[in-house]
Symmetry: C2
Subunit: 397 residues, 2 copies
């Protein structure tokens, strides 16, 4: 594939945030024997390079009672070399939707001769393995893993670490277009292939997000993204002293990390998870607060923002209200130890204007989890590996 070269990189301590890079061509064909002179503005990422990174990547699909046809479409778009990890929090009682997902995945793996892993978020064996690995952070009062996409993502990270993958990428299960899923994964691979540091993150910016209401309108920016990005940029500006618009993917659900980076970040729950990742990176490696990890700081943490060719068309959920999505994300910025008075004021004003807060109220403080690195991976592997393979004996394992 061909993508734009990073034209501008903003530095914040040892964090390097690259400006948006557009995808120019989905499929750039064969590697030519003689490398042609490329335009300085364009990077050609060879198929072989993409596949090298896909081989080292786990693609995580967190799902909860998603339509099976959408789920099936999403998995069919994940490039073959990637390990698919599904963490489901779907219903098991009235109708066993988890079983249906497992069956769909098994059938797909059977016909395509590939491997995948699926686990239920409320699995009791999993809940038992967590405290044994010294990692009780995701457990609720009932002793099982709490609800929430962020919790599902963290389970998947532990499984990806167990499977000895080097990269982990997240893809929502509600995407209508398998071809978009395929492009996201290629973007992840492309980003990692040009990273100079082993501590890297790739966040996806959709070219358009079509709004379906009396025809099609190709919106570029959702309201929530716009406001989150503005506040995130204000947080950076107030420390660097230069106004910036560098962050354009503050809320990106579609994103990927090297596991070396993923395992040294704390995570927020709920809709705060994606913005908090950036806040954690700025806090840990921005050079303002004590460094979170010496080696990572030495290599630097790289953030790429890739803009896809495909628009993003996903299932509209009635429950995704603007306020509900906006509040936790801005909360993660507001409560950052980096957040200066002017950014706090900006956040409060935005939230009051959007009727998400009343004057005098404050946004909620995100609950931060331990770093995944704190888990005893060896113990977790001992407890989970065999069980997970048994559970997935039909999905290529």
């Amino acid at each position: 594939m061909r993508i734009e070269s990073p034209r501008y990189t903003e530095r914040f301590g040892s964090v390097r945030i690259n400006d948006v890079q557009e995808v120019l061509e989905l499929d750039s064909g064969r590697a030519k024997e003689l490398p042609l002179e490329e335009n300085i503005a364009v990077l050609k990422i060879e198929e072989d390079t993409i596949k090298d990174f896909e081989e080292k990547m786990a693609i995580v699909i967190p799902t909860r009672d998603e339509k099976l046809k959408l789920f099936e479409g999403v998995i069919s778009g994940v490039p073959h070399e990637c390990l698919i990890i599904v963490v489901s929090n779907s219903e098991r009682k009235r109708v066993d939707r988890f079983k249906m997902e497992k069956d769909t995945l098994s059938q797909f793996c059977h016909f395509t001769r590939r491997k995948a892993l699926i686990i239920h978020q409320k699995d009791p064996i999993l809940a038992q393995a967590m405290p044994e690995a010294g990692y009780t952070d995701l457990l609720g009062e009932d002793g099982l893993v709490r609800d929430g996409k962020a919790e599902g993502m963290m389970i998947a990270m532990l499984i990806a670490m167990m499977a000895k993958k080097e990269y982990v990428g997240f893809i929502d299960a509600d995407n209508y277009f398998p071809g978009s899923v395929w492009e996201y994964v290629r973007c992840y691979a492309a980003g990692f292939s040009i990273a100079k540091s082993p501590y890297a993150m790739v966040r996806i910016l959709w070219r358009y997000k079509p709004k379906i209401s009396a025809g099609m309108f190709f919106k570029k920016w959702g309201r929530v993204s716009e406001i989150t990005n503005r506040c995130m940029n204000s947080l950076i500006s107030s420390k660097t002293g230069f106004e910036t618009e560098i962050i354009k993917t503050g809320n990106a659900g579609e994103h990927a990390m090297s596991l070396r980076l993923a395992e040294i970040l704390p995570y927020a729950s709920g809709y705060a998870v994606e913005p908090q990742e950036l806040v954690s990176i700025f806090e840990g490696f921005g050079g303002v607060l004590p460094l979170a990890h010496q080696t990572a700081a030495k290599h630097g943490v790289e953030v790429f923002q890739l803009e896809t060719r495909n628009p993003h068309l996903h299932e509209e959920r009635g429950s995704e209200h603007l306020q509900e999505m906006l509040l936790p994300g801005l909360g993660s910025i507001y409560h950052s130890r980096l957040c200066a008075a002017e950014t706090r004021e900006l956040i409060l004003n935005e939230l009051i204007q959007q009727n998400a807060l009343k004057p005098g109220e404050k946004p909620p403080k995100p609950q931060l989890s331990y770093l995944p690195k704190k888990a005893n991976l060896q113990k977790f592997t001992e407890d989970m590996e065999e069980y997970l393979m048994g559970l997935n004996s039909e999905t290529g394992h």
Copy 2:
């Protein structure tokens, strides 16, 4: 990629019509050194094979005043190895939209280092070259090529022959998803790679065609397709004596042919073009009427129908009324020399029921063009080659 094996093949004289084959996996990764035993129901088409066929393929994009953003998206989805041929019938007077398309294409080719050709349907040099090549069939009273997508397709076929391609595939310019375009081309390549005859056609069946009206509804069958397929199947059944539902892509705009097949078929204009291709194949090679081409009949003519993973989401045009699309297609079946009384009756009943005809009226008889093979390709090449290269000097030529 992985697709289903053809499970069932219907024979009609020397025509082999394969039942629908689903795409199972978009990207099946690297060729493994040891070919694994595949499931008998599944075909894995290696990347290298797909690229071999893409190299020999011209992808034709007929366009008329399409939104530039959609046009740009479509070309970005065409795999690199294919030669893009754009035949535009866009406005040139008030606003020179053709120039905008040419600029967009040049820019894309510049950054992606690839080749493309664009020509305007009303180009006077083209209009002059046609009669010199002994091919006056597409010309209107003003001496220029007539309006119409079918006419644009035929110009593109001549150009593809001139460019010494072996396959030609058609893709509409109004597709919202570059990732779908990419899949169509791969389906074409996959179909040709499993064809046993050099006279082959691949037609695309969309998994779903979302209807946007108060939310999303994933329709599988449009009304026009349903009726056209039923009448086409009736035409076959009445000759073979066995009822059939084999044709599921009677109206497929997204389709491809080997040029050896393409050059020996006559074409209808307007919305009749795609159904007429099948009718022409049945007439020429079904064994009921005199054979149209001895060599092709000896090899047999193969029709593949591939069902994509991606849904098809395209620009809705107010002008595409059901009747307007239905009438010409059914006309091509009705007026076929193969069409028996019962099929004619079925067609009239359907058209009356859809308010497309009044009782006593008949559907219009399609105007059939000469076979492209009748054109003097050498003369056409002499007249057009240099001019076309000059016209496209910025698009990689």
